[in-house]
Protein backbone atom coordinates (compact mmCIF):
# COMPACT_ATOMS: atom_id res chain seq x y z
CA UNK A 1 0.00 0.00 0.00
CA UNK A 2 1.09 3.56 -0.63
CA UNK A 3 3.37 5.60 1.58
CA UNK A 4 2.08 8.56 3.55
CA UNK A 5 3.69 11.84 2.38
CA UNK A 6 3.87 15.23 4.02
CA UNK A 7 1.14 16.64 1.76
CA UNK A 8 -1.15 13.68 2.69
CA UNK A 9 -0.61 14.44 6.37
CA UNK A 10 -1.49 18.09 5.84
CA UNK A 11 -4.65 17.13 3.95
CA UNK A 12 -5.69 14.63 6.65
CA UNK A 13 -5.08 17.22 9.37
CA UNK A 14 -7.24 19.67 7.46
CA UNK A 15 -10.05 17.11 7.23
CA UNK A 16 -9.60 16.41 10.96
CA UNK A 17 -9.90 20.12 11.75
CA UNK A 18 -6.58 20.60 13.53
CA UNK A 19 -3.08 21.79 12.69
CA UNK A 20 0.04 19.72 13.09
CA UNK A 21 3.02 21.76 14.23
CA UNK A 22 6.00 21.67 11.84
CA UNK A 23 8.14 20.05 14.57
CA UNK A 24 5.55 17.25 14.94
CA UNK A 25 5.28 16.42 11.23
CA UNK A 26 8.39 14.25 10.99
CA UNK A 27 7.48 12.20 14.05
CA UNK A 28 3.87 11.73 12.96
CA UNK A 29 4.96 10.59 9.48
CA UNK A 30 7.41 8.13 11.06
CA UNK A 31 4.86 6.72 13.53
CA UNK A 32 2.05 6.47 10.99
CA UNK A 33 4.40 4.93 8.40
CA UNK A 34 5.36 2.18 10.84
CA UNK A 35 1.73 1.54 11.78
CA UNK A 36 0.60 1.41 8.13
CA UNK A 37 3.46 -0.99 7.32
CA UNK A 38 2.28 -3.21 10.15
CA UNK A 39 -1.19 -3.32 8.56
CA UNK A 40 0.35 -4.98 5.47
CA UNK A 41 -0.01 -8.35 7.21
CA UNK A 42 -3.72 -8.16 6.34
CA UNK A 43 -2.82 -8.54 2.65
CA UNK A 44 -1.99 -12.17 3.27
CA UNK A 45 -5.52 -12.95 4.53
CA UNK A 46 -7.90 -14.29 1.90
CA UNK A 47 -11.18 -12.47 2.50
CA UNK A 48 -12.69 -13.03 -0.96
CA UNK A 49 -15.50 -15.17 0.46
CA UNK A 50 -15.94 -13.33 3.78
CA UNK A 51 -18.75 -10.91 4.62
CA UNK A 52 -17.76 -7.95 6.76
CA UNK A 53 -19.20 -7.47 10.27
CA UNK A 54 -19.65 -4.11 11.93
CA UNK A 55 -19.93 -5.17 15.55
CA UNK A 56 -19.18 -8.12 17.79
CA UNK A 57 -22.84 -8.52 18.73
CA UNK A 58 -26.04 -9.07 16.79
CA UNK A 59 -27.38 -5.60 16.19
CA UNK A 60 -30.96 -4.70 15.37
CA UNK A 61 -32.37 -1.31 14.53
CA UNK A 62 -34.13 0.29 17.48
CA UNK A 63 -36.78 2.77 16.38
CA UNK A 64 -38.89 5.32 18.21
CA UNK A 65 -41.46 7.92 17.25
CA UNK A 66 -39.92 11.17 16.05
CA UNK A 67 -41.38 13.47 18.66
CA UNK A 68 -40.23 16.46 20.65
CA UNK A 69 -39.68 15.66 24.29
CA UNK A 70 -40.53 18.26 26.91
CA UNK A 71 -37.67 20.27 28.39
CA UNK A 72 -36.35 18.68 31.54
CA UNK A 73 -33.65 19.58 34.01
CA UNK A 74 -31.00 17.61 32.07
CA UNK A 75 -31.69 19.69 28.95
CA UNK A 76 -31.51 22.91 30.92
CA UNK A 77 -28.21 21.84 32.50
CA UNK A 78 -26.94 20.86 29.07
CA UNK A 79 -27.71 24.32 27.70
CA UNK A 80 -25.95 25.85 30.70
CA UNK A 81 -22.75 24.19 29.43
CA UNK A 82 -22.89 26.20 26.19
CA UNK A 83 -20.09 28.76 26.10
CA UNK A 84 -22.44 31.37 24.60
CA UNK A 85 -26.18 31.19 24.28
CA UNK A 86 -29.21 33.17 23.20
CA UNK A 87 -32.79 32.17 24.06
CA UNK A 88 -31.67 28.67 25.04
CA UNK A 89 -29.82 28.14 21.78
CA UNK A 90 -26.10 27.72 21.17
CA UNK A 91 -24.43 30.83 19.78
CA UNK A 92 -21.36 30.37 17.56
CA UNK A 93 -19.16 32.64 15.43
CA UNK A 94 -20.24 33.20 11.82
CA UNK A 95 -19.86 30.34 9.37
CA UNK A 96 -19.00 32.69 6.50
CA UNK A 97 -16.69 35.62 6.75
Amino acid sequence: MSKLEKKDLEHLAKLSRFDIRPDQEERFLGDLGKILDYFNDLNSVDTSKVSPIFSGGDLKNVMREDETLPDNLDNILCVSEFPEKERGLLKVPPIFE
Binding site: L9, A13, F18, Q24, I53, G56, G57, E81, F82, I95
Partner: protein, 493 residues
Amino acid sequence: MNVKDFTIEKYHKGLLNKEFTVASFIEEIFNLIESEDSRLGAYLSLMKISALDEAKKADEVLAIRGADVLNSQPMFAVPMAIKDNILIKGHRATAGSKLLENYIASYDATVIRKLKSAGAIFLGKTNMDEFAMGSSTENSAYQKTRNPYDLERVPGGSSGGSAVAVAGHMALGSLGTDTGGSIRQPASLCGAVGLKPTYGAVSRFGAIALASSLDQIGPFAKTVKDVATIFKTISGIDKNDGTSQDIKYGEDLINPDFEKIKKLKIGIPKEYFNLEGMDEVTKQGINSVIDFYKKSGFEVKEVSLPNTKYALSCYYIILPAEASSNLARFDGIRYAKVGPSTPLGVNEIRSNAKNLLDLYVKNKTQGFGDEPKRRIILGTYVLSSGYYDAYYSKAQKVRSLVKKDFTDAFKEVDVILTPVSPTVAFKIGEKSADPLAMYLSDIFTIPVNLAGLPGISIPVKGINGLPVGFQLIGKSFREADILGLGQYYEKND
Protein backbone atom coordinates in the same frame (compact mmCIF):
# COMPACT_ATOMS: atom_id res chain seq x y z
CA MET B 1 -10.10 -0.99 61.31
CA ASN B 2 -7.70 -0.88 58.38
CA VAL B 3 -9.51 -0.14 55.11
CA LYS B 4 -6.75 -2.00 53.24
CA ASP B 5 -8.11 -5.32 54.56
CA PHE B 6 -11.57 -4.93 53.06
CA THR B 7 -13.45 -6.32 50.11
CA ILE B 8 -17.07 -5.35 49.39
CA GLU B 9 -18.22 -8.61 50.93
CA LYS B 10 -16.17 -8.10 54.11
CA TYR B 11 -17.22 -4.44 54.34
CA HIS B 12 -20.89 -5.45 54.38
CA LYS B 13 -20.19 -8.03 57.10
CA GLY B 14 -18.47 -5.32 59.13
CA LEU B 15 -21.47 -3.01 58.74
CA LEU B 16 -23.82 -5.84 59.66
CA ASN B 17 -21.86 -6.54 62.86
CA LYS B 18 -21.68 -2.81 63.60
CA GLU B 19 -17.86 -2.92 63.69
CA PHE B 20 -17.76 0.58 62.14
CA THR B 21 -20.09 3.11 60.56
CA VAL B 22 -20.26 3.95 56.86
CA ALA B 23 -19.09 7.49 57.67
CA SER B 24 -16.04 6.31 59.62
CA PHE B 25 -15.08 3.88 56.84
CA ILE B 26 -15.43 6.50 54.09
CA GLU B 27 -13.45 9.01 56.16
CA GLU B 28 -10.72 6.43 56.64
CA ILE B 29 -10.59 5.87 52.86
CA PHE B 30 -10.24 9.61 52.25
CA ASN B 31 -7.43 9.70 54.83
CA LEU B 32 -5.68 6.98 52.87
CA ILE B 33 -6.26 8.83 49.58
CA GLU B 34 -4.80 11.98 51.11
CA SER B 35 -1.66 10.18 52.28
CA GLU B 36 -1.12 7.86 49.28
CA ASP B 37 -2.56 9.41 46.16
CA SER B 38 0.00 12.18 45.80
CA ARG B 39 2.40 9.32 44.93
CA LEU B 40 -0.01 7.02 43.06
CA GLY B 41 -2.01 9.59 41.10
CA ALA B 42 -5.16 7.48 40.70
CA TYR B 43 -7.70 10.27 41.18
CA LEU B 44 -8.21 13.32 38.98
CA SER B 45 -10.91 14.78 41.22
CA LEU B 46 -12.45 13.86 44.55
CA MET B 47 -16.09 14.05 45.66
CA LYS B 48 -15.40 14.20 49.38
CA ILE B 49 -18.25 16.47 50.45
CA SER B 50 -20.97 14.54 48.62
CA ALA B 51 -19.43 11.18 49.62
CA LEU B 52 -19.38 12.02 53.34
CA ASP B 53 -22.90 13.38 53.07
CA GLU B 54 -24.09 10.16 51.41
CA ALA B 55 -22.26 8.16 54.08
CA LYS B 56 -24.17 9.91 56.88
CA LYS B 57 -27.45 9.24 55.10
CA ALA B 58 -26.48 5.59 54.65
CA ASP B 59 -25.81 5.31 58.39
CA GLU B 60 -29.28 6.69 59.07
CA VAL B 61 -30.84 4.12 56.73
CA LEU B 62 -28.80 1.38 58.39
CA ALA B 63 -29.98 2.45 61.83
CA ILE B 64 -33.59 2.02 60.73
CA ARG B 65 -33.45 -0.91 58.32
CA GLY B 66 -30.30 -2.72 59.50
CA ALA B 67 -29.59 -6.14 58.01
CA ASP B 68 -32.53 -5.89 55.65
CA VAL B 69 -30.94 -3.17 53.51
CA LEU B 70 -27.54 -4.93 53.41
CA ASN B 71 -29.12 -8.19 52.30
CA SER B 72 -31.35 -6.67 49.65
CA GLN B 73 -28.81 -4.16 48.28
CA PRO B 74 -25.34 -5.72 47.86
CA MET B 75 -23.92 -2.39 46.65
CA PHE B 76 -25.37 -0.41 49.56
CA ALA B 77 -22.88 2.25 50.79
CA VAL B 78 -20.03 0.71 48.77
CA PRO B 79 -17.32 3.34 48.08
CA MET B 80 -16.54 3.43 44.36
CA ALA B 81 -14.14 5.23 42.02
CA ILE B 82 -15.30 6.12 38.50
CA LYS B 83 -13.20 6.53 35.36
CA ASP B 84 -13.28 10.12 34.18
CA ASN B 85 -14.98 9.28 30.86
CA ILE B 86 -18.19 8.20 32.65
CA LEU B 87 -20.63 10.99 33.48
CA ILE B 88 -21.78 11.82 37.01
CA LYS B 89 -24.27 14.68 36.94
CA GLY B 90 -22.84 17.92 38.29
CA HIS B 91 -19.26 16.66 38.29
CA ARG B 92 -16.37 17.23 35.95
CA ALA B 93 -15.74 14.61 33.25
CA THR B 94 -12.49 15.28 31.38
CA ALA B 95 -11.80 11.90 29.71
CA GLY B 96 -8.17 12.76 30.53
CA SER B 97 -8.19 15.56 27.95
CA LYS B 98 -7.49 19.29 28.21
CA LEU B 99 -10.30 19.78 25.72
CA LEU B 100 -12.83 18.83 28.40
CA GLU B 101 -11.10 20.56 31.31
CA ASN B 102 -14.18 22.64 32.15
CA TYR B 103 -16.87 20.18 31.15
CA ILE B 104 -19.44 19.45 33.86
CA ALA B 105 -21.70 16.47 33.13
CA SER B 106 -25.35 17.49 32.85
CA TYR B 107 -26.73 13.98 33.33
CA ASP B 108 -25.84 10.62 34.89
CA ALA B 109 -24.57 7.73 32.81
CA THR B 110 -26.97 4.77 33.06
CA VAL B 111 -24.39 2.81 35.09
CA ILE B 112 -24.18 5.72 37.53
CA ARG B 113 -27.95 5.97 37.81
CA LYS B 114 -28.09 2.24 38.57
CA LEU B 115 -25.29 2.41 41.15
CA LYS B 116 -26.91 5.43 42.82
CA SER B 117 -30.21 3.64 43.21
CA ALA B 118 -28.32 0.59 44.52
CA GLY B 119 -26.87 2.87 47.23
CA ALA B 120 -23.23 3.07 46.10
CA ILE B 121 -21.14 6.07 47.17
CA PHE B 122 -18.83 7.81 44.68
CA LEU B 123 -15.42 8.90 45.96
CA GLY B 124 -14.08 10.57 42.84
CA LYS B 125 -13.10 10.38 39.19
CA THR B 126 -10.00 8.50 38.07
CA ASN B 127 -7.13 9.20 35.72
CA MET B 128 -6.98 7.67 32.26
CA ASP B 129 -5.24 7.90 28.91
CA GLU B 130 -6.71 10.79 26.94
CA PHE B 131 -10.06 9.64 25.49
CA ALA B 132 -9.08 6.10 26.60
CA MET B 133 -6.34 5.92 23.97
CA GLY B 134 -3.41 4.10 25.50
CA SER B 135 -2.20 1.14 27.53
CA SER B 136 -0.26 2.87 30.30
CA THR B 137 -2.24 5.96 31.41
CA GLU B 138 0.81 7.99 30.33
CA ASN B 139 -1.33 9.73 27.68
CA SER B 140 -3.37 11.56 30.32
CA ALA B 141 -3.18 15.32 29.81
CA TYR B 142 -3.15 15.79 33.60
CA GLN B 143 -0.87 13.46 35.55
CA LYS B 144 1.00 10.17 35.70
CA THR B 145 -0.54 7.25 37.54
CA ARG B 146 1.91 4.84 39.13
CA ASN B 147 1.78 1.11 39.77
CA PRO B 148 1.30 0.45 43.50
CA TYR B 149 3.75 -2.49 43.28
CA ASP B 150 6.56 -0.35 41.82
CA LEU B 151 6.23 3.42 41.52
CA GLU B 152 8.64 3.48 38.58
CA ARG B 153 6.24 1.38 36.53
CA VAL B 154 2.98 2.04 34.70
CA PRO B 155 -0.37 0.76 36.00
CA GLY B 156 -1.45 -0.18 32.48
CA GLY B 157 -4.30 1.59 30.77
CA SER B 158 -6.37 3.17 29.66
CA SER B 159 -8.32 2.69 32.94
CA GLY B 160 -5.10 2.93 35.00
CA GLY B 161 -6.59 5.24 37.64
CA SER B 162 -9.52 2.92 38.31
CA ALA B 163 -7.18 -0.09 38.62
CA VAL B 164 -4.88 1.74 41.05
CA ALA B 165 -7.80 3.09 43.11
CA VAL B 166 -8.76 -0.54 43.85
CA ALA B 167 -5.25 -2.07 44.00
CA GLY B 168 -4.11 0.80 46.23
CA HIS B 169 -7.15 0.21 48.51
CA MET B 170 -8.46 3.72 47.81
CA ALA B 171 -11.87 2.31 46.76
CA LEU B 172 -13.60 -1.05 47.20
CA GLY B 173 -14.66 -1.12 43.56
CA SER B 174 -14.37 1.00 40.46
CA LEU B 175 -15.63 1.36 36.92
CA GLY B 176 -13.55 1.49 33.77
CA THR B 177 -14.17 1.20 30.07
CA ASP B 178 -12.64 -1.47 27.85
CA THR B 179 -12.31 -1.00 24.10
CA GLY B 180 -9.33 -3.28 23.47
CA GLY B 181 -8.19 -4.29 26.96
CA SER B 182 -8.46 -1.06 28.94
CA ILE B 183 -9.97 -2.81 31.97
CA ARG B 184 -8.28 -6.22 31.79
CA GLN B 185 -4.70 -5.09 31.09
CA PRO B 186 -4.46 -2.57 33.99
CA ALA B 187 -6.20 -5.10 36.27
CA SER B 188 -3.51 -7.63 35.31
CA LEU B 189 -0.64 -5.18 35.82
CA CYS B 190 -1.95 -3.97 39.20
CA GLY B 191 -3.14 -7.29 40.67
CA ALA B 192 -6.86 -6.46 40.63
CA VAL B 193 -9.80 -8.32 39.10
CA GLY B 194 -11.32 -6.62 36.02
CA LEU B 195 -14.27 -7.64 33.85
CA LYS B 196 -15.02 -6.60 30.26
CA PRO B 197 -18.68 -7.64 29.85
CA THR B 198 -20.23 -8.97 26.63
CA TYR B 199 -20.94 -6.22 24.10
CA GLY B 200 -24.49 -5.12 24.92
CA ALA B 201 -24.56 -6.39 28.52
CA VAL B 202 -24.03 -2.92 30.02
CA SER B 203 -25.45 0.34 28.69
CA ARG B 204 -22.84 2.71 27.27
CA PHE B 205 -25.13 5.74 27.71
CA GLY B 206 -23.12 8.46 29.41
CA ALA B 207 -19.71 6.98 28.65
CA ILE B 208 -17.64 9.23 26.39
CA ALA B 209 -17.37 7.07 23.27
CA LEU B 210 -14.07 5.95 21.81
CA ALA B 211 -15.04 3.19 19.34
CA SER B 212 -18.73 2.46 19.61
CA SER B 213 -18.65 -1.09 18.23
CA LEU B 214 -15.98 -2.12 20.77
CA ASP B 215 -16.55 -0.07 23.96
CA GLN B 216 -18.01 -1.61 27.13
CA ILE B 217 -18.14 -0.33 30.70
CA GLY B 218 -17.03 -2.83 33.33
CA PRO B 219 -15.98 -3.19 36.98
CA PHE B 220 -12.72 -3.57 38.91
CA ALA B 221 -12.62 -5.03 42.42
CA LYS B 222 -10.38 -7.08 44.69
CA THR B 223 -12.25 -10.37 44.24
CA VAL B 224 -14.17 -12.10 41.46
CA LYS B 225 -17.27 -12.15 43.65
CA ASP B 226 -17.14 -8.37 44.18
CA VAL B 227 -16.73 -7.86 40.43
CA ALA B 228 -19.79 -10.07 39.86
CA THR B 229 -21.79 -8.00 42.37
CA ILE B 230 -20.96 -4.72 40.62
CA PHE B 231 -21.57 -6.22 37.18
CA LYS B 232 -25.00 -7.53 38.16
CA THR B 233 -25.94 -4.03 39.37
CA ILE B 234 -24.86 -2.17 36.22
CA SER B 235 -26.02 -4.64 33.54
CA GLY B 236 -29.34 -4.58 31.71
CA ILE B 237 -31.20 -3.16 28.74
CA ASP B 238 -31.48 0.62 28.41
CA LYS B 239 -33.60 2.60 25.99
CA ASN B 240 -30.74 5.08 25.69
CA ASP B 241 -28.34 2.49 24.24
CA GLY B 242 -29.80 0.67 21.26
CA THR B 243 -27.09 -2.00 21.46
CA SER B 244 -27.94 -2.98 25.04
CA GLN B 245 -29.64 -6.35 25.45
CA ASP B 246 -32.28 -7.69 27.80
CA ILE B 247 -30.41 -10.52 29.51
CA LYS B 248 -31.73 -11.91 32.77
CA TYR B 249 -28.67 -12.76 34.81
CA GLY B 250 -29.39 -15.16 37.65
CA GLU B 251 -28.18 -15.41 41.21
CA ASP B 252 -25.48 -17.89 40.02
CA LEU B 253 -23.58 -14.90 38.65
CA ILE B 254 -22.59 -14.05 42.23
CA ASN B 255 -23.04 -17.40 43.98
CA PRO B 256 -22.05 -20.07 41.45
CA ASP B 257 -23.02 -23.72 41.67
CA PHE B 258 -19.54 -25.24 41.71
CA GLU B 259 -20.85 -28.68 40.71
CA LYS B 260 -21.98 -27.12 37.43
CA ILE B 261 -18.82 -25.03 37.11
CA LYS B 262 -16.70 -28.19 37.36
CA LYS B 263 -18.31 -29.49 34.17
CA LEU B 264 -17.07 -26.53 32.09
CA LYS B 265 -14.52 -27.42 29.42
CA ILE B 266 -11.52 -25.09 29.22
CA GLY B 267 -9.75 -24.34 25.94
CA ILE B 268 -6.13 -23.22 25.63
CA PRO B 269 -5.50 -21.45 22.30
CA LYS B 270 -2.08 -22.49 21.05
CA GLU B 271 -1.62 -19.20 19.11
CA TYR B 272 -1.49 -17.26 22.40
CA PHE B 273 1.51 -19.13 23.70
CA ASN B 274 4.09 -18.90 20.94
CA LEU B 275 4.30 -15.13 20.94
CA GLU B 276 7.73 -13.58 20.75
CA GLY B 277 8.27 -11.12 23.58
CA MET B 278 6.18 -12.90 26.23
CA ASP B 279 8.11 -12.83 29.49
CA GLU B 280 9.02 -15.92 31.47
CA VAL B 281 7.17 -15.00 34.68
CA THR B 282 3.95 -14.51 32.69
CA LYS B 283 4.39 -17.85 30.93
CA GLN B 284 5.04 -19.66 34.22
CA GLY B 285 2.13 -17.90 35.89
CA ILE B 286 -0.36 -18.89 33.20
CA ASN B 287 0.95 -22.46 33.19
CA SER B 288 0.42 -22.67 36.96
CA VAL B 289 -3.24 -21.73 36.44
CA ILE B 290 -3.66 -24.32 33.68
CA ASP B 291 -2.11 -26.91 36.01
CA PHE B 292 -4.48 -25.87 38.78
CA TYR B 293 -7.56 -26.48 36.64
CA LYS B 294 -6.16 -29.80 35.34
CA LYS B 295 -5.36 -31.02 38.87
CA SER B 296 -8.82 -29.97 40.02
CA GLY B 297 -10.30 -32.34 37.46
CA PHE B 298 -11.38 -29.90 34.75
CA GLU B 299 -11.28 -30.99 31.14
CA VAL B 300 -8.61 -28.80 29.54
CA LYS B 301 -7.86 -29.06 25.83
CA GLU B 302 -5.96 -27.21 23.13
CA VAL B 303 -8.01 -25.12 20.71
CA SER B 304 -7.01 -23.00 17.73
CA LEU B 305 -7.78 -19.34 17.00
CA PRO B 306 -5.84 -19.12 13.73
CA ASN B 307 -6.60 -15.48 12.89
CA THR B 308 -5.32 -14.10 16.20
CA LYS B 309 -2.21 -12.71 14.51
CA TYR B 310 -4.34 -10.40 12.35
CA ALA B 311 -6.45 -9.05 15.22
CA LEU B 312 -4.08 -6.22 16.12
CA SER B 313 -4.01 -4.75 12.59
CA CYS B 314 -7.73 -5.23 12.28
CA TYR B 315 -8.33 -3.42 15.58
CA TYR B 316 -6.01 -0.51 14.84
CA ILE B 317 -7.91 0.16 11.63
CA ILE B 318 -11.42 -0.15 13.08
CA LEU B 319 -10.72 1.75 16.30
CA PRO B 320 -9.23 4.92 14.73
CA ALA B 321 -11.95 4.89 12.06
CA GLU B 322 -14.70 4.91 14.70
CA ALA B 323 -12.76 7.24 17.00
CA SER B 324 -12.18 9.83 14.27
CA SER B 325 -15.92 10.03 13.85
CA ASN B 326 -16.77 9.96 17.58
CA LEU B 327 -14.21 12.61 18.48
CA ALA B 328 -15.42 15.01 15.77
CA ARG B 329 -18.01 16.31 18.27
CA PHE B 330 -15.28 17.72 20.49
CA ASP B 331 -15.11 20.99 18.64
CA GLY B 332 -14.31 23.13 21.64
CA ILE B 333 -17.83 24.52 21.72
CA ARG B 334 -20.38 22.04 22.94
CA TYR B 335 -18.39 20.53 25.77
CA ALA B 336 -16.13 23.43 26.66
CA LYS B 337 -17.65 25.86 29.05
CA VAL B 338 -15.95 29.22 28.97
CA GLY B 339 -14.43 30.07 32.32
CA PRO B 340 -12.72 33.27 33.49
CA SER B 341 -9.28 31.66 33.69
CA THR B 342 -9.13 28.64 31.43
CA PRO B 343 -5.55 27.51 30.76
CA LEU B 344 -6.56 26.79 27.19
CA GLY B 345 -7.49 30.41 26.74
CA VAL B 346 -10.91 29.53 25.39
CA ASN B 347 -12.06 33.13 25.75
CA GLU B 348 -9.08 34.33 23.81
CA ILE B 349 -9.60 31.73 21.11
CA ARG B 350 -13.25 32.69 20.82
CA SER B 351 -12.61 36.38 20.51
CA ASN B 352 -9.82 35.86 17.98
CA ALA B 353 -11.53 33.22 15.83
CA LYS B 354 -12.25 34.52 12.34
CA ASN B 355 -15.13 32.14 11.81
CA LEU B 356 -16.54 28.85 13.06
CA LEU B 357 -14.01 26.68 11.22
CA ASP B 358 -11.15 28.72 12.61
CA LEU B 359 -12.57 28.24 16.10
CA TYR B 360 -12.72 24.47 15.64
CA VAL B 361 -9.16 24.29 14.36
CA LYS B 362 -7.76 26.44 17.17
CA ASN B 363 -9.58 24.51 19.88
CA LYS B 364 -8.75 21.05 18.56
CA THR B 365 -5.13 21.93 17.86
CA GLN B 366 -4.63 23.04 21.46
CA GLY B 367 -7.03 20.62 23.11
CA PHE B 368 -6.01 17.23 21.70
CA GLY B 369 -2.77 15.54 22.72
CA ASP B 370 -0.54 13.61 20.32
CA GLU B 371 -2.18 10.18 20.59
CA PRO B 372 -5.73 11.36 19.79
CA LYS B 373 -4.31 13.39 16.89
CA ARG B 374 -2.40 10.35 15.62
CA ARG B 375 -5.47 8.13 15.79
CA ILE B 376 -7.83 10.71 14.27
CA ILE B 377 -5.39 11.11 11.33
CA LEU B 378 -5.14 7.33 10.99
CA GLY B 379 -8.92 6.92 11.13
CA THR B 380 -9.48 9.67 8.60
CA TYR B 381 -6.92 8.01 6.33
CA VAL B 382 -8.36 4.46 6.43
CA LEU B 383 -11.85 5.84 5.76
CA SER B 384 -10.82 8.13 2.90
CA SER B 385 -11.80 7.33 -0.66
CA GLY B 386 -9.17 5.22 -2.38
CA TYR B 387 -8.07 3.56 0.88
CA TYR B 388 -11.43 2.48 2.30
CA ASP B 389 -11.41 -0.93 0.61
CA ALA B 390 -7.77 -1.67 1.34
CA TYR B 391 -8.04 -0.83 5.03
CA TYR B 392 -11.45 -0.33 6.59
CA SER B 393 -13.45 -2.78 4.51
CA LYS B 394 -10.66 -5.36 4.71
CA ALA B 395 -10.54 -4.98 8.51
CA GLN B 396 -14.30 -5.55 8.81
CA LYS B 397 -13.88 -8.83 6.93
CA VAL B 398 -10.94 -9.91 9.06
CA ARG B 399 -13.05 -9.03 12.11
CA SER B 400 -15.58 -11.54 10.83
CA LEU B 401 -12.82 -14.20 10.68
CA VAL B 402 -11.62 -13.40 14.21
CA LYS B 403 -15.16 -13.79 15.50
CA LYS B 404 -15.63 -17.04 13.58
CA ASP B 405 -12.48 -18.44 15.22
CA PHE B 406 -14.16 -18.01 18.62
CA THR B 407 -17.49 -19.40 17.40
CA ASP B 408 -15.68 -22.52 16.16
CA ALA B 409 -13.62 -22.91 19.36
CA PHE B 410 -16.75 -22.56 21.50
CA LYS B 411 -18.21 -25.63 19.78
CA GLU B 412 -15.53 -27.63 21.58
CA VAL B 413 -15.08 -25.77 24.87
CA ASP B 414 -17.07 -23.46 27.17
CA VAL B 415 -14.36 -21.08 28.30
CA ILE B 416 -10.97 -20.05 26.86
CA LEU B 417 -7.98 -19.38 29.12
CA THR B 418 -5.17 -17.05 27.97
CA PRO B 419 -2.65 -14.53 29.29
CA VAL B 420 -3.88 -10.91 29.63
CA SER B 421 -0.67 -9.03 28.88
CA PRO B 422 2.52 -10.46 27.32
CA THR B 423 4.59 -8.82 30.07
CA VAL B 424 4.32 -7.58 33.63
CA ALA B 425 4.09 -3.80 34.21
CA PHE B 426 6.71 -1.95 32.18
CA LYS B 427 8.73 1.12 33.18
CA ILE B 428 7.22 4.58 32.85
CA GLY B 429 8.53 6.04 29.58
CA GLU B 430 9.64 2.65 28.21
CA LYS B 431 7.09 2.50 25.40
CA SER B 432 5.70 6.02 25.25
CA ALA B 433 7.93 7.03 22.31
CA ASP B 434 6.90 4.02 20.21
CA PRO B 435 3.13 3.81 19.59
CA LEU B 436 3.36 0.43 17.86
CA ALA B 437 5.21 -1.16 20.82
CA MET B 438 2.47 0.22 23.08
CA TYR B 439 -0.27 -1.21 20.82
CA LEU B 440 1.31 -4.69 21.09
CA SER B 441 0.65 -4.78 24.85
CA ASP B 442 -3.05 -5.41 24.07
CA ILE B 443 -2.51 -8.33 21.72
CA PHE B 444 -4.30 -10.87 23.97
CA THR B 445 -7.24 -8.65 24.91
CA ILE B 446 -8.14 -7.08 21.56
CA PRO B 447 -9.66 -10.20 19.90
CA VAL B 448 -12.27 -10.35 22.69
CA ASN B 449 -13.54 -6.85 21.86
CA LEU B 450 -13.56 -7.57 18.13
CA ALA B 451 -15.75 -10.61 18.79
CA GLY B 452 -17.91 -8.84 21.42
CA LEU B 453 -17.26 -11.51 24.08
CA PRO B 454 -16.91 -11.25 27.87
CA GLY B 455 -13.39 -11.46 29.32
CA ILE B 456 -12.06 -11.26 32.85
CA SER B 457 -8.57 -10.69 34.23
CA ILE B 458 -7.80 -12.47 37.51
CA PRO B 459 -4.51 -12.27 39.46
CA VAL B 460 -2.37 -15.42 39.37
CA LYS B 461 -1.75 -16.60 42.94
CA GLY B 462 1.68 -17.14 44.46
CA ILE B 463 3.56 -14.56 42.36
CA ASN B 464 6.31 -12.70 44.20
CA GLY B 465 6.87 -9.28 42.75
CA LEU B 466 4.93 -7.67 39.93
CA PRO B 467 1.43 -9.13 39.42
CA VAL B 468 0.46 -11.39 36.51
CA GLY B 469 -3.15 -11.83 35.43
CA PHE B 470 -4.82 -14.61 33.48
CA GLN B 471 -7.79 -14.11 31.21
CA LEU B 472 -10.94 -16.20 30.97
CA ILE B 473 -13.00 -15.60 27.84
CA GLY B 474 -16.63 -16.75 27.78
CA LYS B 475 -19.40 -17.21 25.26
CA SER B 476 -21.64 -14.19 24.66
CA PHE B 477 -23.64 -13.32 27.78
CA ARG B 478 -22.11 -16.26 29.69
CA GLU B 479 -20.41 -14.05 32.28
CA ALA B 480 -21.62 -16.61 34.83
CA ASP B 481 -19.16 -19.18 33.39
CA ILE B 482 -16.03 -17.04 33.63
CA LEU B 483 -17.03 -15.52 36.99
CA GLY B 484 -17.81 -18.98 38.40
CA LEU B 485 -14.57 -20.46 37.13
CA GLY B 486 -12.73 -17.44 38.55
CA GLN B 487 -14.33 -17.85 41.97
CA TYR B 488 -13.40 -21.53 41.90
CA TYR B 489 -9.73 -20.56 41.38
CA GLU B 490 -9.86 -17.95 44.16
CA LYS B 491 -11.41 -20.28 46.70
CA ASN B 492 -9.26 -23.39 46.14
CA ASP B 493 -5.54 -24.13 46.29
